[in-house]
């Protein structure tokens, strides 16, 4: 009885706390919104954030939002934008629902309904391509970790500080040489757009990298048994397996390789392979598996700091896209600082002139960010990663490696 009473009390206390805080917040925003008090307190800088918080990308989209919020908090706690009188960043979130049509209308709505200085989004390349089109037309800068090379074609308000899709294939091929001098690679890929385009990139670049592809096998996603497919891999004599697969098939492939006792290294690529969820599903079988990422939480000490804060809040390590997103927020802050204005055109010009090699804005493989005329980071390249003791360690290239490659 007593226990339940005390629980009730804490609950109502919390509720009161919450009400006070909310009311305060509402009053504060109302005050700032109604009368911009320049000189007394700087007007906040509005940053639009477009992420799929519902639909098929919901889980990862929500994690992106968590990272975006953490980044804004970090900038604001460090004193905001000093050249604008310590102006705070104000994140305006919008749910693009994992849907291209919704992305178009939401981006439009976000830009026309708010006075934005810049935008970031949308995790999935298919969505980012749409958001970027809309942002280009509205002349608002968009910065993104999406890897599609299409984002660098004929655009002047789109900025991509991280490795491009075409660079991922090359990195994967080069990584296979860590396993043997003359790697024999089997490529198995699901036979729709995602699998075929990625695997064709691998096939085209393999001869140039001195990698022999001994099996190039499309399969239909969602099989009942990975046994027959891996029987083929076994017969091909490959010592390295590139699987361009969705999560379900990848889980079966990894487990079946173990059952066969097949001596083959596995590179699972990017995306769903380099997120904490993969380890939850595969467990210790993930140990030693390789992949590629545009960001990893061990690239430098700043990244490690952000990672431990994120881990404290959300209980898992900061994933590729989320970490890149924190760096992007600091790139925007750097641009705002130099632009000394919230005007989107001036912010865009300052972003185009960005050149950083230290601080949170530079936490990327290579540690330098400077945009070329196509919006591509001229120093951008992917990092090769490996699952080691339930965590992702950077192992490739040499200058980005933070742990030795674990030979399986």
């Amino acid at each position: 009885m007593k226990k339940s009473q005390s629980r009730k009390q804490t609950k109502s206390l919390r509720r009161r706390d919450f009400l006070i805080k909310t009311a305060g917040g509402v009053l504060a925003t109302a005050a700032f919104g109604a009368v911009p008090l320049r000189g007394w307190a700087a007007e906040p800088v509005n940053i639009g954030a477009l992420y799929p918080v519902t639909g098929s990308f919901a889980q990862i989209g929500q994690a992106c939002v968590n990272a975006a919020k953490l980044a804004v908090e970090m900038v604001n706690d460090a004193g905001g934008i000093k050249s604008l009188g310590g102006a705070k960043l104000n994140l305006i979130l919008s749910d693009v629902q994992s849907d291209t049509t919704v992305t178009r209308t939401e981006t439009d709505r976000l830009i026309s309904g708010n006075k934005l200085s810049a935008i970031h989004g949308c995790y999935a390349s298919a969505l980012t391509l749409i958001a970027s089109e809309v942002a280009e037309r509205a002349k608002v800068a968009i910065i993104t970790g999406s890897s599609s090379d299409m984002l660098n074609k004929g655009r002047s308000y789109t900025f991509t500080p991280f490795a491009r899709a075409s660079q991922f294939a090359k990195a994967q091929l080069q990584m296979s040489k860590l396993v043997s001098d003359k790697p024999k690679v089997a490529v198995v890929f699901e036979n729709t757009a995602f699998g075929t385009s990625t695997s064709n990139g691998l096939k085209e670049q393999a001869p140039g990298e001195g990698v022999e592809i001994v099996l190039f096998e499309p399969y239909s996603a969602g099989f009942a048994d990975a046994g027959p497919l891996l029987n083929k891999v076994k017969a091909s004599g490959a010592d390295m397996l590139f699987a361009v697969s969705y999560l379900n098939d990848l889980i079966l492939i990894v487990r079946t390789v173990k059952q066969i006792g097949l001596k083959v290294g596995i590179n699972g690529g990017s995306g769903g392979f380099v997120v904490p969820d993969f380890y939850k599903n595969v467990g210790s079988l993930a140990e030693g598996l390789q992949g590629v990422a545009h960001w990893n939480h061990d690239v430098d000490t700043n990244a490690q700091k952000v990672n431990s804060e994120y881990k404290k809040r959300h209980g898992e390590f900061l994933f590729e896209y989320g970490g890149g997103l924190v760096a992007q927020t600091f790139m925007l802050a750097d641009a705002l600082e130099r632009a000394q204005s919230t005007d989107p055109q001036k912010v865009r010009d300052a972003l185009a002139a960005l050149d950083v090699s230290s601080g949170y804005a530079a936490m990327a493989p290579g540690g330098k960010v400077k945009f070329g005329p196509d919006g591509k980071n001229v120093y951008g390249h992917p990092v090769g990663v490996q699952w080691q003791t339930a965590d992702l360690a950077s192992v490739f290239p040499k200058e980005d490696a933070r742990a030795p490659l674990m030979k399986s």
């Binding site: 399969y219 009942a224 048994d225 027959p228 599903n281």
Partner: protein, 289 residues
């Protein structure tokens, strides 16, 4: 080369055992109740989740949880027959097709809401083990699943051949009107048949769990093959469905090995078309048995 072929046949037989449990369930309902159950895959999925939750919350081995999933789905089957299927019998094909098809969509989407789209895996000590005989390997989890699937099919066969209820089911399957004249209560027979059919689906789900990740759409992977096996093995024929399932598993595996990994199903469907052209009533010929 020979090893590769032997391995492909083993792989095919093992997964064929799972196809068999699903297809025997479908063919049993069709044979006795004369209704095509499109939701059979979703009952496999439910069996998987039962085993997953028993394993993750109580540490019960998925094989032990057969003792829960089979009776649970048997009861679901009784209710399904009593409250839903019974109402549409005799109304023609369309209401029946829509009923089970709607049930399939409903169950899949309820599972999406309740369990999310995430994959759930169970790791047992035998999940990733295999018996190695020279170059050949036999995965332990799949071998256990295969043996139990064959044992369950055998038990069902004995049940249909020797018990009064089994004989009543076969009678209802062959000539329902005459069976009723002989004093067989069709509602009871139909309810038990649906129950047994769903119990087999539940068993398939539990047996899959040690080596296949559960997800709301997992049942769909197996149900397509099950339907082909049902047609191939003569509609309503339990033994036909069993043999056809094993054949299809092997055909799929050999197809992937020698034609291409995205054409395993082509071999399966080619086999179906050839069989239908030569023996239109299916491999077992004669009809429901």
């Amino acid at each position: 080369m020979l090893e590769t072929v032997v391995q492909a046949v083993i792989n095919g037989l093992l997964i064929g055992g799972i196809y068999a449990l699903v297809s025997i369930g479908v063919t049993l309902i069709f044979g006795v109740v004369k209704i095509v159950n499109f939701a059979q895959g979703e009952f496999v999925m439910i069996g998987m989740y039962i085993s997953f939750f028993l394993s993750s919350y109580f540490g019960i081995d998925p094989l032990v949880s057969l003792a829960v999933s089979m009776p649970a789905l048997f009861l679901v089957g009784l209710c399904l027959q009593h409250f839903l299927i019974r109402r549409v019998l005799g109304l023609g094909d369309m209401p029946q097709i829509f009923l089970t098809f709607a049930l399939s969509l409903l169950l899949m989407n309820l599972a999406l809401m309740a369990f999310t789209a995430n994959y759930r895996t169970v790791h047992t000590w035998y999940s990733d083990e295999a018996i190695h005989l020279g170059e050949i390997y036999v995965p332990v989890a799949k071998l256990i699943a295969f043996v139990l699937a064959m044992a369950l099919s055998g038990t069902l066969w004995v049940f249909l051949q020797t018990t009064d209820m089994g004989k009543a089911m076969r009678a209802a399957a062959q000539k329902p009107e005459v069976a009723m004249l002989m004093g067989i209560n069709p509602n009871r027979v139909f309810a038990v048949a649906t129950g047994v059919s769903l119990a087999l689906a539940g068993a398939a789900g539990s047996l899959l769990m040690p080596f296949y990740p559960a997800s709301p759409t997992a049942g769909q992977v197996f149900v397509l093959m099950a339907f082909v096996a049902v047609v191939l093995g003569t509609l309503g024929n339990v033994r036909g469905a069993l043999i056809a399932s094993l054949m299809m598993g092997v055909a799929e595996s050999l197809g992937i090995q020698f034609v291409g990994a995205d054409s395993g199903l082509i071999v399966v469907f080619l086999m179906l078309l050839l069989t239908l052209a030569i023996r239109p009533s299916g491999l077992a010929g004669g009809g429901a048995r």
